[in-house]
Symmetry: C2
Subunit: 149 residues, 2 copies
């Protein structure tokens, strides 16, 4: 078939990852994002750097890495408080290395502290063996959200 | 005419703002963004919160505010070093209040410190009288970029 992609052009999504079904809003706009839930309760999120994620140097835009960090780090709250909305209070992001067009970027985070409705989360984002970003977020839970479908 | 928008539905872009002509990459993806250059060398950037910027609560997504902060704060470097690329080294963002769908969100920043190729920038983002975000960024200039058209 003439419209076959070359094998090297097909994005390879690692086993266990599922595409997140965000059909609206900013999540859809910066997607697709992928998620992998491990049996031990930990999780990974990831995305493949596309043209629509790049800056003028054809690296992943710093704003995209920060937006990704916000969803990755904040998801730790959703894992701990499944039925609550949360908001970001403060986020510190350290840019260690750049991600390039076509890179598979992964991230995860852990809750480092919990005090009433405030959570401190430490997270990291990497590409293969290369650390891209580390950071610390403070998040606040709000009232209950409608049940997830 | 039947396809007239109601007056209340037409986004009102304040005088002096021009839409930024980002035709590719992440800048286009999260746009449209607007910019206003003042005669005294200061500047403003802004955007109208659209559906594609929102989170599940129909407020502006925290990731969008951070991405906007990155472009607003970093632009202070472009004003000081017009012919150089720059990268974000560290960004701290404090979320003070939320921006809602339809809000006109503005931001600016000032260089607080300069040491060789490292710049410390303090910035703020607001909506009318309401502060949305404050933050501090560290940026690093790289080599010269091609002349801007």
């Amino acid at each position: 078939m003439t419209d076959d992609l070359l094998e090297s052009e097909v994005p390879v999504i690692p086993p266990g990852y599922e595409q997140m079904q965000w059909t609206r809003g900013f999540g859809r706009q910066i997607g697709p994002l992928y998620q992998k839930n491990n049996p031990d309760g930990t999780y990974l999120r990831a995305f493949l750097v596309g043209e629509h994620h790049t800056n003028g140097m054809m690296n992943c835009h710093g704003g995209m890495l920060m937006a990704f960090a916000d969803t990755v780090f904040g998801h730790a709250i959703s894992m701990r408080r499944k039925s609550h909305y949360w908001v970001t209070v403060r986020l510190l992001t350290d840019f260690i290395s750049s991600a390039r067009l076509g890179d598979w970027v992964e991230g995860t985070a852990d809750i480092a502290g919990e005090e009433d409705d405030l959570f401190t989360v430490k997270g990291r984002i990497w590409c293969g063996e290369r650390i891209i970003m580390t950071g610390t977020g403070v998040f606040k839970t709000l009232g209950p959200r409608p049940p997830r479908r």
